[in-house]
């Protein structure tokens, strides 16, 4: 944004040299000024959100201290005890489940679409993928509640219960819980990871693929030795973008996670995520401490999402930059 503005203003001095350039000059100034204002406004809004959130969070953070707040295991608004750990735990567990389930499927889909699908079916596949991304999350939540949760309760969780030597799969199959939220998030972030992976794989120079094929590689081997290593960082970035989405997703997770602030090693147990608690309690929060605690949770989410986004962008750029250098 800022870069675009500065290049606009650099081009201004050229205009007055043209005959009758006075009017164009002032018009350009207005235009550049308006663009700069819009650009700065976006930055200001972001900063303002961060600042007001931090300010609102202050009472809660002052009470327990930042570290005490993050590691606190109890959440009891009635007694004004606020600890963020159950929500951080719920967010992390559901996001990790989502990533573990979504990345292999999304990458396999991207490989199929770029390397194997007949060119006519490619646009259809991309359309379906984008359709998946455009479904409102409340619809995902409903589907999760009425289809996914019963399926997990009656079939998947009893089957996984056989592996109950792992603490992950212990407990009663409730259906509603961190597993349900994780699976639902996996489906929701699938299109994000798949579409970025598609873009990354499309930047793989065809000369690399041909080099492998000319050595007697099968098409799969060409993907494995040429395309995937080249796109590795970019696909990692795609996964981080998906993770960022999973961390922040509110509605669908709230509907299936169970909304109970406990820390359990079992995926079958109900949990609670950062966005869900904020959405559920903000309307009832009246004391400055309660509101502050919710704002502090929002701040934690904001910081984690920001770090992930920056990391993802840097990784994707590293791959795209490598391509541009080698093809220039």
């Amino acid at each position: 944004m800022a870069a675009a503005n500065s290049s606009t203003s650099e081009s201004i001095p050229v205009t007055p040299a043209a005959p009758g350039g006075r009017r164009a000059f002032s018009g350009d100034r207005v235009y550049a000024g308006a663009l700069a204002a819009a650009g700065i406004a976006i930055l200001l809004v972001a900063l303002l959100i961060a600042a007001t959130t931090a300010n609102t969070a202050r009472p809660a953070l002052a009470r327990a201290g930042l570290w005490g707040f993050i590691t606190g295991r109890d959440w009891n608004p009635v007694e004004d005890i606020y600890g963020a750990l159950p929500f951080i735990w719920g967010t992390l567990v559901t996001s990790v489940v989502a990533i573990v389930l979504a990345v292999p499927v999304a990458v396999a889909f991207a490989i199929f679409l770029v390397e194997f699908a007949p060119s006519r079916s490619r646009s259809l596949l991309r359309f379906v993928m984008e359709l998946l991304a455009s479904i409102p999350s409340v619809v995902y939540g409903l589907w999760g509640l009425f289809v996914l949760v019963p399926l997990l309760r009656e079939h998947v969780e009893p089957a996984l219960g056989r592996f109950s030597f792992l603490p992950l799969f212990r407990g009663a199959p409730l259906g509603v819980g961190t597993l349900a939220a994780g699976v639902l998030l996996a489906i929701m972030i699938l299109p994000t990871i798949a579409s970025v992976s598609v873009e990354v794989l499309r930047t793989v120079p065809s000369t690399l693929r041909e080099g492998a094929l000319a050595l007697g590689a099968t098409r799969w081997e060409a993907v494995r030795i040429a395309a995937l290593p080249y796109g590795r960082a970019g696909i990692f970035g795609a996964a981080l973008l998906g993770l960022g989405r999973a961390l922040g997703e509110t509605m669908a997770a709230t509907m299936v996670i169970g909304n109970s602030p406990e820390i359990s090693a079992s995926l079958f147990a109900p949990g609670y995520s950062l966005p869900s608690i904020i959405a559920n309690e903000f309307s009832e929060a009246t004391s400055a401490l309660h509101i502050g605690a919710l704002a502090a949770l929002g701040l934690i989410l904001f910081v984690v999402a920001l770090i992930l986004n920056i990391a993802a962008r840097l990784l994707v750029r590293a791959v795209v930059g490598k391509f541009e250098r080698s093809s220039s």
């Binding site: 000369t207 041909e210 080099g211 492998a212 590689a217 490598k322």
Partner: protein, 252 residues
Amino acid sequence: MTAAPKIRIEKLNAYFGAHRAVRDVELDIPALGVVAVIGPSGCGKSTFVRCLNRMHELLPGARAEGRVLIDGQEVYGPGVDPVQLRRRVGMVFQRPNPFPAMSIFDNVAAGLVLNRLPGDRAAIVEKSLRQAALWDEVKDRLKENPTRLSGGQQQRLCIARALAVEPEVLLLDEPASALDPIATAKIEELIHELRERYTIVIVTHNMQQAARVSDRTAFFYMGELIEYDTTEHIFTNPSIKQTEDYVTGRFG
């Protein structure tokens, strides 16, 4: 030609969709030695060569018709596995394309690993790098990434990679066009040495290069094979006017 040809091409046609890029080409390539394929841009010379190891058909909408026989065996016959064929017919491309995520050693060994070939990998890698005249420059940095090598070194690495699987035929598609004159001279020297062990087909837009490195030259124009003869004949006394116009620089 008295001896049986290494490669015999009969009525070869190559298409991109409806466009016929190679038209009814017939020619015999003798075993060992170098055949140069020359012609102006877009004349089908690269497409022709890519038909010999069935790389052409990998492009979207591309197909080939006709017969190609290597040692009398059909290249386009039913049941021929193009993956097997490409091990016998190595290829080096216009742009050096070492695998960037592998070490120099692993690049040369890539074909051995892919084709599960037996033997002492280290010895084969060394031999291939020596054949490609690259060993002395990289022997102390085999574990390094190939992207640190110069363009010319990368291209010789790609030649070593192609040689490691011991192909019978080596296709070189404008292998020096992205290189500077010194690197080009090294590649040409290398082709000169390899001609005794391999059947080499080189595509080039550089006529001096064709004249320097090849025994026989094929001149393509608009997808057709115009003239095919010994290099000396093509460059000194071509039988067809179009060839003469091209090699003397009057067009193209």
